[in-house]
């Protein structure tokens, strides 16, 4: 027991102190920040893709919404990009409701293909919409006007902001896991037909998960835009963004709380370091390595890495509703 506490404590301390410990190595400090940013997106995806089992390959549509919202409030209204965070999240949730209703009726591959198509559709439309910069994209404040612009040189402030947001996403996920909604989502993921026959309002809960997931993904997108200061249709809505979110969650273990974070911890440094070591030689070997590793994981660890660990106690079943109790009686 003490052992466990000590271990968790050390890990927590390391996580909190990471950027300070690495302040003399800005690249690695930034790496930690990038891991957190990726984990936010992947964890957001996990809500609908992992827990509810609805594999969306078009989450870039929410990411891009958040990213564009952040930069657009700056270019159009002169406001600090951070103001775009709630705006982007709200728009993303509305979009999720609009496309979720018809799309979530589809199952399996059809759902995935529909999400890809919608994301690509939005990307092409944005490329032709002058108000958001069309194909040229939008640039945020290059140098901070006030501290609210969040244009820092060091990665340290970003690290803590992202850590806080990730913690919020994981907290919400954890609460849902233990709630009635989580219970229903697991049932839907297992077998939607069975769940429906038992009275679970599958359509409604899938939609809630989708909308929640969309909102958090948009926040991730806004934070990306704040840090990098630029977004265009490809970097906001490109299919690679959707795929990366999904791959991280799958790699670490989808449907598990820390799965996406583990996936991000492996893939983000892998990509950065192999690009730094191999990229300059111009042979794209970074992606060969990336691809090979993904194939190996899929082949040998299909349920993700976290699934290798011994299964912990399953989350407690929530207390039945009064109506259900009466029914059972």
């Amino acid at each position: 027991m003490m052992h466990r506490r000590l271990m968790y404590g050390t890990v927590a301390a390391l996580v909190l102190l990471y950027p300070v410990l690495l302040s003399s190595a800005p690249v690695y400090q930034r790496l930690g920040t990038l891991v957190l940013l990726a984990a936010i997106g992947a964890s957001a995806w996990n809500l609908v893709g992992g827990y509810a089992g609805q594999v969306s390959v078009g989450h870039a549509v929410f990411f891009g919404t958040g990213a564009y919202a952040a930069i657009a409030v700056y270019t159009q209204f002169g406001l600090p990009p951070i103001v775009g965070v709630p705006v982007g999240a709200l728009i993303a949730v509305v979009i999720a409701a609009l496309i979720g209703v018809p799309t979530l009726r589809l199952s399996g591959h059809y759902f995935s293909m529909a999400t890809i198509a919608v994301a690509e559709l939005v990307r092409v439309l944005i490329s032709n919409w002058e108000w958001v910069g069309g194909a040229q994209g939008l640039s945020g404040p290059a140098v901070s006007r006030t501290v609210l612009d969040l244009s820092f040189t060091s990665a340290l402030p970003y690290y803590y902001i992202f850590l806080a947001v990730l913690a919020a996403v994981l907290l919400v996920t954890w609460r849902i896991e233990r709630s009635r909604m989580g219970f229903y989502l697991r049932a839907i993921k297992d077998s939607e037909r069975a769940a429906r026959s038992l009275g679970v309002a599958a359509g409604r809960y899938k939609l809630y998960a989708y909308m929640l997931s969309a909102g958090f993904t948009a926040v991730g997108g806004s934070l990306y835009a704040v840090m990098f200061g630029f977004v265009d249709p490809e970097s906001g809505f490109g299919i690679l963004i959707s795929v990366k979110m999904l791959i991280m969650a799958a790699l670490g273990g989808s449907g598990l709380l820390f799965g996406p974070l583990i996936g991000a911890l492996i893939l983000v440094p892998l990509e950065e370091i192999s690009n730094s070591l191999l990229g300059g030689k111009g042979a794209g070997l970074t992606f060969v390595v990336y691809g090979a590793i993904i194939v190996l994981i899929a082949r040998f660890l299909p349920s993700g890495i976290l699934a290798l660990l011994p299964a912990r106690r399953p989350p407690p079943k929530p207390k039945p509703l009064a109506a259900e109790r009466a029914h059972a009686a």
Binding site: P26, S139, A142, F230, S235, G280, G282
Partner: protein, 416 residues
């Protein structure tokens, strides 16, 4: 006795130390970071730019007396830094603004480069140069054309290339001259790919032509990397404009060349705005289909024995293709940076920045067809300019302005 031995050893040690220090100073290398697309869609262009920059470094580091007038060609290394050599560290921007910025940070803090050069795609240059600006590292941009890059109030950003406005002006002047000479210039169409490059150039051309009274009757934006361009060519065939200006990347350029032949349609004057049509892959695969294509380029080999021709020979020997526009501009950017570092006489960032600001290269001192290199207070090279070239017999020949021409302009467009 003991003290004599001691002082003798001390003297020897001191001499050795001095020798080492002297040698170290003489052998000092100056590290420069170069961020280019070495993978992804623009990898073809990125790799040619890399080769061109490597050639520039070779010219600077080794003795090339035959390249008269080119600063730093004679002698080895940078004379004002004791013959120090330039070492370029390349990084792949992977075609994403995020990777570009991450690599910039790595080059600055881990590789400890004194300056950066890059990054080809305008969107990537935005984020990459922002990182350099925050760290106070000079950033030389040889080839990105988005207008906003020099509008950010940056102090460490220096753009060597002409921008869309310059090209549009060159086209306008060229077409007005042709009109006066009796060529058909009554209707103009613009076909542009729909990403930041194509859109920005197309809109600037339209604006300029509007001001100059050149009638644009048709504008056809299309999605880059498309599978088929027959509809676009058919739209052109239907309207039949006299002049068509293409703003496309390589893959689309190849498709257009083939499709126009397949559908048997050609305008009187066909103009291509650089990019895809200047890519060596296009020239080697489709050059025979576009005889007489008018192009703009900042570089053309020119008359044999001229500086540009000699450079082209050196490049061709190593890479089996002619030096193309974008790569030549990358090379020029590297030469400008090296010249500035040399004049700064130190690797101190602020001194290099000041030296860049004071750059004043004349037309005969540059490899590209610029009128020279001189930066305004926004960091833009105000002497940047373009040549109009024409595809003749499988390679591009400069035909305009007359004082830089190496061949005669032949109209109307012949095609295949």
């Amino acid at each position: 006795m003991w003290s004599r031995k001691f002082s003798l050893t001390a003297l020897c040690t001191a001499l050795l130390a001095l020798a080492y220090a002297g040698a170290a100073a003489a052998q000092q290398t100056v590290k420069v970071g170069a961020i280019y697309p070495l993978s992804g869609n623009a990898a073809s262009a990125g790799n040619y730019s890399k080769a061109a920059i490597e050639l520039a470094v070779d010219i600077i580091n080794n003795d090339h007396p035959e390249l008269k007038d080119l600063p730093l060609a004679a002698g080895t290394g940078l004379p004002r830094l004791g013959g120090a050599k330039i070492e370029v560290v390349f990084a792949d921007n992977q075609g994403t603004p995020a990777a570009g910025q991450n690599q910039a940070l790595r080059l600055i803090t881990e590789e400890k480069v004194q300056a950066l050069i890059g990054a080809y795609q305008s969107g990537i240059t935005v984020t990459t140069s922002a990182m350099a600006e925050r760290h106070g590292i000079p950033f030389v941009n040889p080839e990105s054309v988005a207008a906003n890059l020099t509008e950010r109030g940056f102090k460490w950003f220096f753009r060597v290339t002409p921008v869309a406005g310059d090209f549009a002006r060159a086209y306008a002047d060229f077409l007005k001259e042709q009109k006066a000479a009796g060529q058909k210039v009554g209707s103009i169409a613009i076909v542009n790919e729909n990403t930041e490059y194509g859109n920005s150039v197309a809109s600037v051309i339209r604006e300029m032509f509007g001001k100059e009274g050149l009638p644009v009757v048709q504008v056809i934006p299309y999605s880059a990397n498309t599978t088929d361009v027959q509809p676009q060519v058919l739209q052109l065939k239907e309207k039949n404009p006299d002049v068509v200006i293409f703003v496309s990347y390589t893959s689309d350029a190849i498709l257009y060349a083939k499709t126009m032949k397949d559908l048997n349609w050609k305008p009187s004057i066909m103009i291509a705005d650089d990019a895809g049509f200047n890519d060596p892959s296009f020239v080697s695969s489709s050059g025979s289909l576009v005889e007489g294509l008018v192009n703009r380029s900042s570089f053309a080999p020119g008359k044999p024995g001229s500086l540009s021709a000699l450079i082209n020979d050196l490049y061709k020997k190593k890479n089996n293709v002619d030096l193309d526009d974008a790569s030549a501009r990358a090379m020029q950017g590297m030469l400008v940076l090296a010249d500035a570092i040399n004049r700064a006489g130190s690797t101190d960032a602020a001194k290099i920045q000041a030296a860049l600001r004071a750059t004043d290269l004349k037309a005969n001192q540059v490899v590209t067809g610029y009128n020279g290199v001189k930066f305004d207070d926004k960091g833009q090279n105000i002497l940047a300019s373009s040549l109009i070239t024409q595809m003749q017999g499988g390679s591009y020949v400069p035909v305009w302005p007359k004082d830089k021409a190496a061949g005669e302009l032949k109209l109307p467009y012949k095609g295949w």
